[in-house]
Amino acid sequence: MSTEPKRPVLEVRNLSVSLPKGADRVHAVEKVSFTVNPGEIVCLVGESGSGKSVIAFTVMGLLAKALKPTSGEILLEGENILTAGEERLRELRCTRMSMIFQEPMTALNPVMTCGDQIDEVLNTHTDLDPAARKAKIIAILARVKLPEPERIYASFPHQLSGGQRQRIMIAMALVLDPVLLIADEPTTALDVTTQAEILKLIAELQEGQGTGVLFITHDFGVVAEIAHRVAVLRWGELVEMGPTEQILSRPVQGYTKMLISSVPSITPVHRGVRRDGTTILRTEKLGKIYTGNAFFQKARVVKAAVDVDLDIRRGETLGIVGESGSGKSTVARCIARLIDPTEGKIFIGDTEIATMSARKLRPHRRRVQIVFQDPYRSMNPRITVGEFIIEGPMNFGLGRQEAMARARNLMETVRLDPNSLDRYPHQFSGGQRQRICIARALAMEPELLIADEAVSALDVSVQKQVLELLDEIRVRLNLAVLFITHDLRVAAQICDYVAVMSKGHVVEYGSAEQVFGSPKADYTKALFAAAPGRHWEFGKFAA
């Protein structure tokens, strides 16, 4: 860490950004001040709506038109960006300050080759001739450790993986050696092993060049991994700022304490192995193979799930952990028969449903219910929450009055106001919507509840509440729960048993304590080694 008195690359002084009229508050960002020194990584941490991304976009001059900086200064090496014209801002972008974004999948233009997209930067900002530009691009592609730079140069984004695309973004951002790099949740959309590599790459590159980095994240694991200093934001205001070690282990403000306490520990809670209830779900050599059909070419075969043997007893939570493409959601969807398995058997209680016809399956549908990842998109925006909850039970013959009474009860179970049943989804926050989705699933009185990444889209404090709620419901209703997640910390906190999946196979399966405590499979070990902030035991503070 460089703390010698050098001029900071970025100084934000007293910055306020106003929200358009009618928003839930006046300012997106209010009187925020901080600095980023050369060679330093400063993390802006906060939950959604804290204004952390707004600050990043204000620095780049890329704010949406509706948002206006109303006071303060942003000094990039002493030059005030807020008073710079559009032309000057364009000159500064990618030469002195660069930005990388959250979604590498969508941040690159899909119809241009990666080489051309980096070439645009050089063509706009330098007088280099084509040959020199190409040489420079190949060099930076090698520096961000992309294999075969020549091939990557000519590739389109869709031909690369998410991690590779983020490397392209980093190459693009750093090709002209800017003094400031703004990274807006650059690893949030990536798998944990890829995330670890990208974090390492960013740290290496910025250290080599002495670049100042403003790193935006909601993930304290990432903070522990990469930050020199941390600034905690809430509702547009700076709550607390200091060196990483101090903020993470000796936070002063109540909000910071609450946030850090909400981070799930990677050490599993001791829940004891029960193995005495009746088996609710059992799969035998469950498999799902996708075959493309082509006229002339050889058909493409994708083995999404192979020989999956799982079982869950009443009152137990089984977690399936894995990276994207590991087949964990495929298994969940097969069990709920949202897709048809191609091989193996699924027993719900004593009923084999894997090959059951749609008509025969219908009465069994009630027994398995699922809660999806994105609470914003899994509810029909045009029907009220009440209708959303009672639709299922009424479909199975319950009268409207009884169904409504059940819905009111369930709203209480998920700690929402039963009187809000006549409201529409957009009137609820993400966490509330996820509770409603849980209530909807419970309204069917299922025997097995599947939660498919059900807390992944939620802020850490909300996530904690929903996790506690799920666990409480499991105990109270003696439910079997299948919990799909990519987040090892979450899995450690909620699962009795864990199955680790990779490339369609279950590579490790056992009690949570056993899998987390002494992983056997190489893949599991690699997965744990990549978890950000794994060496950091986030303290539980009394807020």
Binding site: M60, L62, L89, R90, E91, L92, R93, C94, T95, S98, M99, F101, E103, T106, A107, L108, N109, P110, V111, M112, E120, V121, T124, H125, F156, H158, M169, M172, A294, F295, F296, Q297
Partner: protein, 313 residues
Amino acid sequence: MLDFIARRLIAIIPVLGVVAVFVFLMLRLTPGDPAAVIAGDNATSDQIADIRTKLGLDEPIWTQFAIWIGNVLQGNFGESFFFKKTVAELIAQRVEPTLALAICTLVFAVSISVPIGVMAAYRQGSLIDKAVMGFSVLGFSVPGFVIGYCLIYVFAIELGWLPVQGYVRIGVNFWQFAERMVLPSLTLSVGFVALISRITRASVLEVLNEDYIRTARAKGLSNRVVLMRHALRNAAVPILTVIGLGIAILIGGAVVTESVFGLPGLGRLTVEAVLSRDFPTIQTVILLFSVVYVVINLLIDISYTLFDPRIRY
């Protein structure tokens, strides 16, 4: 890719089959006797019956269909009742004005509508945007012949810049050809411009919200480069689709426009053939239009791959 083209070409066959049956039945089931038309006002019923036998119109309807289809498959489209020529000859004579009109219209329409659509999207909510949207509503709702006569009145009669009507073959005198194409293609463009500018606006607006547009701006590119290089190319696929579907408007519009401007093209041939119950000509022209429509849309589907490398057939 070849796989795709082969499958699409095979799929044309049932389409044309349905068109053929439909056209044939429509014509036979509508009232009016071509034999009577050909024979003229003073003909006796014996003469009419003679003509009917000669044309095969007294055969059962399915025999007539079988004979016709058999001939069509051999490339014989029959002889026009009315023009006393083979239909093939007739169409060959009439194809040039229509082709010229269609091409000029497409060029006009695309070169006007795409830029104004992009501008409207970029300046969403501005005066330009409102003007473009207003124009497109107008363009949709005003019939082609009204636009045609208005243009003739202003540019040909009042200002005297361009001829009122008529056609000169491109090989005979290019300038006379060109000045006679201006008003018809403008007329026919209006509806097309309305359609394409709207879809361009919508498509570009959607693309402008994409993350890679933000990336492009974060690179320090100028607005023009962001719009033309990054936004428009990504917006191209829906625009192309609508241009393809719009070919139908073009064909329908050609009938009216050619009549207004006195162009001796396929559109007017269709009108004349319908009025004189000239079955072989009508059937062939409609079949031809169907083939053109299907083939153009196939070409457009293939052209997607030029704009978007992710599309593979």
